[in-house]
């Protein structure tokens, strides 16, 4: 297909389809993912799940780093497990763990990555300036990356993921090493980018998803537990979040019986928020506005063990 036509088709389609994907690692019976199906279109999909849920495995499969044991992943109809270069050409990927070349400075490293990604040198120069400004590393662009802090390296990772103006952006725990301002900045960027591309944001930080995603998928133990909009997810805990004041001594019992989402100590006792289908006590009050974190906790707790093998 002529490149221009293919590009136009991709902009129009922008569809990632994950079909019955399972992943079992070599020499082990453990399935990191099991029969997972998900379709993703333009916008931000927040992929939530506890540690070890299978998020990073899914991210690596989408990024064509890992091949699924079963199932297919289609990008605009093309099976990328067979033709990985179809997605690689338009992919921006920020892995959870990655390194940089310590002897190169930010400018040189990004130019290197731009060359690998096939970005023309002139265009790359402009793009790198923009990205370094965006990730706020313009001042230190000539310093060797070996001297960078963890947060600064993470920002270099974000910049490299955006180098080729990707149609699909896969970011795995992108805000882990960022400070508050960096995190806010990154969320804004994601929101800005989302309109014209597929963004998959994997995280265990619910507030990142809350601020950006228009679509949420929750996975645990390799299974898809829920797929909905943030509003629908919030609705699922409507009438199930309770504010309750208890003496400190009763905390262990409450912890054992209920799923607590917050505990604040006040003069009159402990103000706890909990997730429960029914009122925990007469004096407990129904909370007015559930949070996404509570909805997420509720989802995980109600499905706990469901996916266990």
């Amino acid at each position: 297909m002529h490149p221009t036509i293919r590009y136009a088709v991709q902009v129009r389609l922008l569809k990632l389809l994950i079909e019955n994907v399972s992943k079992r690692y070599k020499g082990s019976d453990f399935y990191a993912l099991r029969d997972l199906t998900l379709d993703v279109g333009p916008g931000i999909l927040g992929l939530l799940g506890p540690n070890g849920a299978g998020k990073s495995t899914l991210m690596r499969i989408i990024a064509t780093i890992t091949r699924p044991t079963h199932g297919k992943v289609r990008w605009n109809g093309i099976d990328i497990t067979q033709q990985p270069d179809e997605i690689r050409a338009v992919l921006g990927y920020l892995p959870q763990d990655f390194g940089v070349y310590p002897n190169l400075n930010a400018d040189e490293f990004l130019r290197y990555m731009a060359a690998i990604k096939g970005v023309a040198p002139e265009a790359a120069r402009e793009r790198i300036d923009d990205l370094l400004t965006f990730v706020n590393l313009l001042e230190v662009r000539k310093r060797p990356l070996g001297d960078y802090s963890g947060g600064m390296k993470q920002r270099i990772g974000i910049a490299q993921a955006l180098l080729n103006d990707p149609r699909i952006l896969v970011v795995d725990e992108p805000t882990v090493d960022l400070d508050t301002e960096g995190r806010v900045r990154f969320r804004h960027l994601l929101a800005e980018l989302a309109g014209e591309r597929v963004v998959i944001l994997s995280t265990h930080i619910v507030s990142d998803v809350e601020a950006t995603a228009n679509d949420i998928a929750i996975i645990n133990q390799g299974h898809l537990l829920a797929r909905s909009s943030p509003e629908e997810l919030l609705q699922s805990v409507e009438g199930k979040i309770w504010d309750w004041v208890i003496p400190s001594a009763e905390l262990p019992a409450a912890k054992q019986k209920y799923l607590l989402s917050s505990i604040v100590r006040h003069k009159d006792g402990l103000h706890i928020r909990l997730v429960s289908e029914t009122s925990p006590a007469q004096e407990a009050e129904l909370a007015s506005s559930p949070t996404l974190e509570e909805a997420y906790l509720y989802c995980i707790s109600t499905h706990r063990g469901a996916g266990a093998e």
């Binding site: 990024a63 780093i65 690689r88 892995p95 190169l104 040198p121 230190v140």
Partner: protein, 536 residues
Amino acid sequence: MNRLQALYAIMRACYLNKVRTYRFLTILGLTIVAGYIFVPAPEANYVTLGWGSDTAFYRGVYNSAWIGANVAMLTGVFLTLVGFYVVKDTVKRDEQTRVGQIIATTPLSNPVYTLGNALGNFTVLSTMIAVVFITSLGMQLFRGETFTIDLWALMAPFLILVLPLMFLVAAIAVLFETRPSLRGGLGNIAYTFMWLIGLPLSSDLIDLFGLNAILQSMSASGLAQYPEIAHNSFIMGFSWGFPTGWTLSTFTWPGIQWTSEILQTRLLLLGLATGIALLASVRFSRFDPARESKKIREAPPSDILEVKEAYTYAVVPLKEVQLRPLGEKALQFRFGPMLFAECRLILKELKFLGGYGYAFAGALIISGLLLPLDGARGMMLPLAWLLPVLIWSKLGTREARYQTDQLVFSSANSLKRQLPAVWLAGVLLAMVTGSGVALNLALHGDWLGVIAWFVGALFIPSLALCLGVWTGSSKSFEFIYTLLWYIGPINQIESLDFMGALPRSVEAGIWQYYLAITVVLFGLAFIGRKFQIQRG
């Protein structure tokens, strides 16, 4: 936890970490192969130990004593080199996994840590020795010259000669790892040279390998039965090329008495190894990057503060940051920039050589051009192609080493785009560093020499890339290349002259073989990288 328990825990962890890998299984497999080829069949066209001429060869009957001593001595010689590379990654592993930083915060003392790791390395090497021993037992039965097994005679050379040597290697490996300057490729090359120089010295000065007493005893037994042995050359190692029709004569060697003198030397070796393991703890950085990073040490305090200042950067209002979309024209791969980027990466890695390194490379190029041709190709070319060995050794391993593999391999067509660029950058490095000699050859009209030189420039990065991709470590190239470089061009062994340093090897067309090997190596690198990209 007392010190002994801690020592045991460190040793055990070191041992288990190394042996629970496919790599170690492969090493054990190769060890069995080595044990097999150390005891050649009577009809084989090579020999490993004895006395020979063009027409005759004398060796002991393959009884327990001869096989034990034969295999143990050869194992001792070869494993002191190979074993070093097998075990030299203990401290590095703790550093890379960041377990070292946790260890550093415990009450564990440095001497216990280094000695524990040396013992761990020793147990790994001992496992290999045990496998060779069992193989040699099997070989006695397999060759079947005598079926009487004398277990002590078979085992004693391994126990008394080889094991103390292995402890020495284990300790030196830890010492090298705790010295920043010796931890990397420079240390690997230094050790290979130490081995190459130490081998001939050891028989004259100190009997490091314990060969003297055994060889004297073997020689006495042989001479008693075949006095003509005195006029034959002693052969130890691999010797090929016996003409057909040569005769094999055997004599019975009953083994030797292990005198207290021999035992004392071996005990001394154990003491020396323990001393080296403890010496490794002196000035060991204990995983403190501030004590290791040259950059941090050398940077003026204001510089360090500046970086920290940059980390607490000022907020740039979001609206100021506009990411302009890239047009489709901007996304068309071109090989030139890719190659340029790879070359820049190489040049950055040359930085460790500093200004003197560049000056030295320049001097080698100029002298390669100006010296008489034989001196230029025989001396300057090998030197010019030794200088970049630490850069070539990173080809194919850089992505794993710096954990950029996920970034690079998830890019489009990296197999067809990045891998050839990496290789070509390595070729260009060889061509530039060896350019003086090439010009000299061209000026003398020695075009066959130029072709051999060019094949050498293609061969070296291909070997590096192939070994790097398949082993995932730069050590394998550093070790194999240095050995090949020393035995081939330096010791003027024609068949191993991969760079065309010897006029007679060029005339014999040895370069044609290396050209074919280059194609195979590049093909293997390509396949290996394909597996890396499509893993899982």
